[in-house]
């Protein structure tokens, strides 16, 4: 499933549309500790976190994940939003808890 297709499902709120919506999402990674996400999130994954600050975008860019999903209604601060725009990172949001958000993506990937 591509990032564009995920957005098209309409289950997540679109905070920022990234530069490359044709990117394939092949997995999901859940963690709020940035160093852990940094070292372990596979590129091409959807990264689910409640951490909505500017450093989340830095990690997303460096780890090269396909998109970021902010769960638990975590609100990205202005700088986070601006950095996502500037770096072309797709930033989605949901009121669902981390597990449910990840499960939805999993079900979409694996049918």
């Amino acid at each position: 499933m591509t990032v564009e297709e995920l957005i098209g499902k309409g289950i997540f709120q679109v905070v920022v549309e990234g530069d490359d919506l044709s990117r394939e999402i092949t997995g999901i990674f859940c963690c709020d500790l940035l160093s852990v996400a940094m070292g372990r999130a596979p590129s091409m994954s959807a990264w689910v976190t409640v951490m909505g600050n500017v450093n989340t975008i830095a990690v997303a860019t460096l780890a090269d994940v396909a998109c970021v999903i902010l769960a638990e209604n975590a609100q990205p601060d202005d700088m986070c939003r601006a950095r996502a725009q500037q770096q072309g990172v797709t930033l989605l949001a949901t009121e669902e808890p981390v597990f449910e958000a990840a499960l939805k993506v999993h079900q979409l990937i694996h049918g």
């Binding site: 709020d32 500790l33 940035l34 160093s35 852990v36 940094m38 070292g39 590129s43 976190t49 951490m51 600050n53 500017v54 450093n55 989340t56 830095a58 990690v59 860019t61 460096l62 780890a63 090269d64 700088m79 770096q87």
Partner: protein, 140 residues
């Protein structure tokens, strides 16, 4: 030596909003010169962790990145407090990061272990009250 590109970055202290800019810049420069995505990922992860450490623990500093056809060498030099016990600092989970840093998602004590894991060579020179210089090499 003509084919070595050297980049330098000043890292400002306590500015989390800018942390990651140097690593991002290196990442895009490496992409431009055609370094493999796998090597870029290693450099990006190791350098970001080092950059964050300079912001959190060391009042900023200077990063030099040397790119040659054989390797990428990152030299991170700060004039912070130094590391009293390097062996302990290298342990996964060990952290002296304050709570406000933790609330931003840092301070998991995974930085130095990540830097070691993602580079082919890492050395730490540190002196209490003087500063720390970390050199990391990713082979190409």
């Amino acid at each position: 030596m003509a084919d070595v590109i050297a980049l330098t970055y000043e890292i400002s202290p306590d500015d989390f909003t800018r942390a990651g800019e140097a690593s991002s810049d290196v990442k895009s420069k490496l992409k431009q010169v055609g370094v493999s995505p796998a090597a870029i990922r290693k450099v990006a992860i190791a350098m970001y962790e080092g950059e964050i450490n300079m912001v959190i623990h060391a009042k900023g500093g200077k990063i030099t990145v040397e790119i040659s056809p054989e390797e990428i060498r990152m030299i991170l030099a700060d004039r912070g407090p130094g590391i009293p016990n390097v062996e302990q600092a290298m342990q996964a989970g060990w952290s002296t990061a304050p709570d406000e840093v933790r609330s931003l998602g840092f301070g998991a004590g995974m930085g130095l272990p990540n830097m070691k894991k993602y580079t082919d060579n890492m050395s730490i020179e540190t002196e209490l009250g003087v500063g720390t210089t970390i050199t990391m090499v990713v082979k190409l």
